[in-house]
Amino acid sequence: MMVARHGAIGVVPLGVGGDAVVRIIAANLQALFNLPVDILSNLTSPDYALNGRRQQYNAALILKRLAESRDAHRRVLGVVNVDLFIPVLTYVFGEAQLGGRAAVVSLHRLGVRENGGQASLDILYERAAKVSVHELAHTFALVHCNQRPECVMRASYGLEELDGTPLFFCDYCKAFLAEAYRRFNISNLDGGGE
């Protein structure tokens, strides 16, 4: 396991078996955010967030726990296998603190086809990468993009829409991200460490 480095993004598997998808997520985050990414120790499934009535896991509680973790990473992305929700919605693929520290992505619904049945692994990996990049970008205060349809920050709420979303930022969102790095005082890989 890599040692945590100050200023990097930390990816935290929470009860996720097999680390291929986590490595693919980490690699895409590093590529698109141009920030060093660490994969942290696998923690247990977030049972503290289970809502017995809904049989789903409250994303807000997971985010709170992640944000409060003591490691030095500036941003933390949790990866779970369980089905996530927020109180007003039936489900979410992922959730994030807007301008905050934590984000979470769920693989639970990403591995199925739109019309049921199992999706192939490459589709699962691509979807997981897109949702992870999207949610993590919210922690840099990026909001949904309506400037370009070809942007990972466009809002997509169904699997079909997600599959049609590209895995890159449009020029506007790149500019907003650069601005966010300045505001949050974060140096990217090209600029070296802080």
Partner: protein, 446 residues
């Protein structure tokens, strides 16, 4: 990025407020939250929210009650009702009450986002449509002709009838009633609408200047005439000449104008060439021309030449039902001009406006609204923005009744002392108990 739409989430459950707020903020909306109807209505006074998500089941004030108040005071704010306990009855009640949609918690993520986007698109289209319609209205010069009173509806009908003809029109009415606007409307609706509308305020110009403005002059016609200039009679060729305050035209010029109206020919000052013109004349006056004729100040033949069709615009105090509509109309204009987020007039303020006599008529009302918009700090214009309409000119139902005088005096003293009962009682030289009794008896409220 998404436009800065303002959304207010109203729900008594904190987790609902926070999760909905967080979700909507990620789409770039400005989102606030209120824990109930009272808080929401208070926030709406200060902030022009575009959209409300309003829970139905709340203690103290239900969502349906809040919906009614919102639609009454802020009709441009869209409302989506949300509930965990849906029923056909509440859904129907909500939609009849003016809600734009009705959602059951929890919603599907795409349902919520698509609905929000759809409503904001609709709102944008409606606002653009209103703006474009007002632009068009301005081009045909109808924009200030607003009124639902019987008198105004009759006037509109007459304008439609007379516009098509070429007959002269004499418009009478007090100052500020919109005589020029009626003249423009007649011109705009008539066959000469593509030709110029040339106004001249006869009362604003001294006689020599009025003559040169109307007839024009040739170079050298008088000292200062360094080049030839067309007069308004020529400029109005094929169009409409509007003689405002025609009652002030000097007698000699009335003769000259009468000749032009009858022969359609005239000479410029200092000119030899006869100029032929063809225009429709509309005249306006706030003067009683019959009385002026009797006093020898106005020619009867000139009067008959102008008064082929007579239109009278009643003063605003004789059609008080038009006041809220006009006030709303002026508010829209000045809200846009000042870019201030003021979109309604409080019912108490409307009551003040309706009680006032408006000696300056619609023009005075327009000035009052403009002033109120400039000084207004909240989203709705309230009585405080019209405090300059001094109480002495507000008519009471029974101006000589002792009770009315006492009520008015008590109100003034209480307001002067900020409703400090002790100080007000001292000033009135009565004891506090007596003052409390009078406040209760007359139903006075801060």
């Amino acid at each position: 990025m998404a436009p800065k739409i303002r959304i207010l989430v109203v729900d008594d459950e904190l987790i609902i407020r926070e999760s909905l707020r967080g979700w909507l903020q990620k789409s770039g909306y400005n989102v606030d939250a209120a824990e109930g109807g009272t808080a929401a209505l208070r926030m709406l006074e200060d902030t022009p929210y575009d959209l409300l998500f309003l829970d139905i089941m709340m203690p103290t004030m239900t969502g349906i009650e809040v919906l009614a108040r919102v639609k009454e005071r802020y009709p441009q704010t869209l409302v989506v009702m949300i509930t965990a306990y849906g029923s056909v009855q509440t859904a129907v009640e909500a939609m009849k009450g003016g809600a734009s949609d009705y959602l059951m918690k929890p919603f599907d993520p795409d349902q919520l986002t698509l609905l929000t986007e759809k409503l904001m698109q609709q709102k944008k289209l409606v606002e653009e449509n209103i703006y474009l319609r007002e632009q068009v209205a301005e081009r045909v010069r109808f924009e200030n002709l607003v009124g639902r009173s019987k008198a105004m509806q009759e006037l509109f009908a007459v304008i439609q009838d007379v516009a098509a003809s070429d007959a002269s029109v004499l418009i009478t009415g007090e100052t500020g009633t919109g005589k020029e606007l009626v003249a423009k409307a007649i011109h705009a609706k008539g066959p000469r609408c593509h030709a110029p509308f040339i106004p001249i305020n006869c009362g604003a110009l001294p006689e020599p200047l009025l003559e040169s403005e109307l007839f024009g002059y040739e170079r050298g016609a008088f000292t200062g005439a360094v080049r030839a200039k067309k007069g308004r009679l020529e400029m109005a060729h094929r169009g409409t000449l509007f003689l405002d305050e025609v009652g002030t035209v000097p007698l000699k010029m009335q003769v000259d104008l009468l000749r032009v109206l009858e022969t359609k020919r005239f000479h410029r000052l200092g000119g030899r060439e006869e100029i032929e013109v063809d225009f429709r004349v509309i005249a306006a006056t706030n003067r009683d021309l019959h009385e002026a004729i009797q006093h020898g100040e106005f020619r009867q033949d000139f009067f008959y030449r102008l008064n082929v069709i007579s239109l009278h615009i009643p003063p605003l105090r004789q059609r008080r039902e038009d006041i809220p509509l006009l006030a709303r109309h002026f508010l829209e204009r000045y809200r846009r001009e000042t870019n201030k987020q003021i979109d309604s007039i409080h019912p108490e303020a409307n009551a003040i406006l309706e009680r006032y006599d408006w000696p300056g008529n619609a023009r005075e009302l327009e000035n009052a609204i403009e002033r109120a918009v400039v000084i207004g700090k909240k989203r709705s214009l309230g009585p405080e923005e019209f405090s300059f309409l001094t109480p002495s000119v507000l008519p009471t139902a029974r101006p000589y009744a002792l009770r009315e005088s006492e009520v008015a005096h008590l109100k003034k003293v209480l307001e002067d002392f900020g409703w400090n009962i002790s100080r007000a009682a001292d000033a009135l030289e009565i004891n506090r108990v007596t003052l409390h009794k009078k406040i209760k008896r007359y139903g006075l409220r801060q």
